[in-house]
Symmetry: C2
């Protein structure tokens, strides 16, 4: 699989395009377009279930991990993460290694305190800092696993007792790691999993429910978990393309 580490859209396998193209005219011989299938039908629920199941299997996720398919892109997660996890008087630790991390830091500051634990700004974001310390009282530690613009990648999962949050938008299916070490993983699907307009969010439900602010329903991970990513009409087609890609990744032997 060719991975697109750039900021642009994904390079998906041809057979995913072919099947998606067919599904727009006639999805699974239902005579209906995937675009006109109700999301609360067994037909679509099977798609969503398969996408979740494939991701759980491919990433070897344990039972504490919830898998959500949410509207928006990683830019939505830049604020949804601190909105769900960070109180105003709490501190989140961030790694400052490029444009995506900078955006995440900016949005987090609207919700609480941010401590930048390390930065590679001094050399134009050309390297990944090492040897930094993550304060033990940080609510979470956030980093971008792959910096598309700057061309750097964090290979080792940081050692810390603080919950780990990672933006894996641009490398989520490109290499294996112990994904269970993360409390929250998000990825805008347009890079390596599917079409623009859906986020994959993998969250340990144990870290939720600790903020005092009122969350808009659509921004509340807990409500999405309770409703199985069906709190409202999900981005049906984008979820379907994710599922096709995950099926293809499995067929190719996994991550």
């Amino acid at each position: 699989m060719t991975h697109n580490f750039n900021a642009g859209p994904s390079i998906l396998p041809k057979e995913v395009f072919e099947e998606a193209s067919r599904a727009i005219l006639n999805f699974n011989d239902t005579g209906l377009s995937i675009l006109e299938i109700g999301h609360r039908t067994s037909i679509f629920e099977a798609v969503l279930d398969e996408a979740r199941q494939l991701l759980r299997e491919l990433m070897n996720l344990n039972a504490d991990k919830e898998i959500l398919f949410l509207h928006g892109g990683a830019s939505t997660q830049f604020f949804q993460v601190p909105m769900n996890l960070l109180n105003e008087d709490e501190t989140a630790a961030y790694l400052d290694c490029g444009i995506w991390g900078i955006k995440g830091i900016k949005e987090a500051k609207n919700f609480g305190k941010v401590e930048v634990v390390a930065s590679s700004k001094d050399k134009g974001y050309t390297y990944i800092p090492k040897g930094y310390e993550i304060p033990a009282n940080a609510k979470y530690f956030h980093y971008t696993t792959n910096n598309t613009i700057e061309g750097t990648e964090v290979f080792d999962i940081p050692q810390t007792s603080v919950p780990l949050v990672a933006d894996m938008s641009s490398d989520i299916l490109s290499r294996n790691m112990d994904f269970n070490r993360f409390s929250l993983i998000y990825a805008g699907a347009q890079k390596n999993i599917g079409a623009a307009g859906v986020n994959v969010v993998i969250v340990d439900k144990n870290i939720l429910g600790t903020v005092s602010r009122k969350l808009p329903s659509m921004m509340d991970y807990r409500l999405h978990i309770e409703n199985g990513s069906m709190l409202n009409t999900p981005p049906v087609f984008a979820v379907y393309v994710c599922m096709l890609t995950l099926r293809w990744v499995k067929k190719m032997g996994g991550i």
Copy 2:
């Protein structure tokens, strides 16, 4: 055109499905799938421009109206509207005529005061109240033009000096009206314009910028206006399907 007044997905014309299906394999003879076209290319900008231009023409919108294509569904707008328009000490007026209005009211209460000016709850939401008064000091008045679940529709635009906000998700292209009388119109596109995962938001820019809270970038209408709906990667395919549908509506003679 068959309109789907239900909560489910839209019934789009067959030629829209056919063209969308082709575009997944080969968009406009570029040899590329619409799913792999970068959103910051002239190819996609032409799609977005055409969608905006068609909507402006079909709805006869004046120059003050900005047209945005945003991630999410109407449920996202239920909170994004008050987040952008309502301060905590201000009051928004809402019409309570069914499930969508109820959800909008619930989300608005997280951001400011809500006055329900009229309700048809007493008779199970089977009618549209008349003769109600909208307080002149309300920040805006919100109503749902068509109640999909309850089967009622508001035909006359309320007379008021207060900015009008309407959820037109389920009837946006089904009947003509003086759309310029609204300060903000939103519609989850999956009902009558396109595929799930994109909102059409038509907003008078003059009503923005009056709230004191810090808005997450992705929730700030002004930033989306400045960036021409390209603040982040838009839901490319869903926008494309909207454009095809709008093209078809024009060909059929308009709204």
